[in-house]
Amino acid sequence: MEAIAENTPLLLQGIAYTVALTLLGYVLALVVGTALAVCRVSPIPPLRWAATVYVEIFRNIPLLSLLILISFGLPDVGLRLPYFWCGVLGLTLSSAAFVCENVRSGINTVPVGHAEAARSIGLGFFGTLRYVVLPQAFRTMIQPLVNVFIGTVIGSALCSAIAVSEITWVTQTLNIQYAQAVLMFLVAGAVYLGMSLGGAALGGALERAVSPGGDSERGRDRKALDVTAGAQA
């Protein structure tokens, strides 16, 4: 416990870095990923291909390799970013690919008839997306996007390999000094668990808020209700 008591500021700094990496990486990934998804469903073939190539590359590179490439490969071609921004960039590039696929599959859940109807009343490509397809697609995307968020949280731990002093780095460093591995990693684990659960709770609340009619009862334990109804019958 002394390892924690004596190093509270360092641990807090580690948590702050983890939160900053995750939020920056995730928010940027949402922006980039949505833009990519729009490219992937666009009527312009070169855009579709470019987005597809991007997704297949960044979805299939291990994040650690990507971070190392950005940190130690880019300087060789003249671009040297601070380690923290290397981390943000790596998380963004990787998560954006997953966001793109989630947004695209969300778009695909909207019946084609809706899009056709939108076109028939004169809405263009962006109008169709904005007023008809995306609002409906958004609901089905929430849970998959929560998964991407959790992936980003966990992925941020890999930034310890590029000298970003986030919580995993801090626990590793303190472990060298205090030889208290189990305790230190329980602390780090609790931080990740807290962030992931927080993200999931937020996602759940958002899902209920945007469910049809804004009925907060819907989307929550509907199966469980059905089961009890069956039991009463």
Partner: protein, 327 residues
Amino acid sequence: MTPSTSRPGRRAVVAAAAALPFGAALAACSSDTGSGPDLGGGASDGGGEGTPYGDAIASGPLASEDAVAASAWATAIKDNGKLVRGGTLANQVFSLASTTGEDPTGFDAGITQLLSRYILGEDGAEKVEYIDTTVETRETMVENGTVDCVIATYSITPERLEVIDFAGPYYLSGTAIQVRTEDKDSISGPEDLTGLELVTQANSTGIQAIEENVPDHDPDKVQTLPDNESCVAALKQGRSDAYVLDQGVLLGNSKADPDVTVVGEPFVDDPYGIGLSTEHEDAADFVNTFLQEIIDSGTWEALWTATVGEVVDGEAPEPPTPGDLPV
């Protein structure tokens, strides 16, 4: 836009990602302090009779029946028929797996095989089970009995001694400084590092060496990276101004790469010990007796010459005194 219009066929761009020959080695778990440079030879040639390494192992002493019987720890290993060692197999100079199916080689691997031979007899060197431990798991795995001992460039520190026992030291390392060759005249010791960007390995004792020896050191200017290659890259690319680590590893880097140079002399002693569980009170004495025997018989020196001596210039150093713990 119609979401379900047929899309163009998927291209196998996956190949592009697969073609990046990168990070495979880096994805490995962190090895222990300092992985040496790949010099394409020396300790990585594999052992076997007729090589300096193989001969060093074959010349190792054997314990008497009585000595093994007198130690509960050694008796348990003999009854088990193998020595279970915790450590790494990814450290160029100290313990490297063979690519040709031979036993691992390196200074730590040699100590392991000599200890196994000492307890288990003539062909004991082959009866080692190598279990991967990382810096995070070393104390836990030795204390819960997963491994009989940890031999992994394992610095003896007071904090670690509170948790486990150490035999040794069997090797005295020293923390030194490496800089870009163009800076070699402006930096000569830790007192010159104040205010500079420093880099060391994440799982090494370099961090403490910096804290204790660099005047007014700024924790925010100490970067830690998982392996030697990243640290050298950071130094050469100007992310850091000095690389602080075990001198043996740094000398290997200079030998492989003229752009970096080791300056000054080691400023911290770093004694490596053999980690043992506190449950076996007799283990440390037994292993210390073994270490004294390989030192007295010249086996220690032969092993040093075949491993560390391949990357460090000069004669073998004076071996440390086993049992002389720095507490």
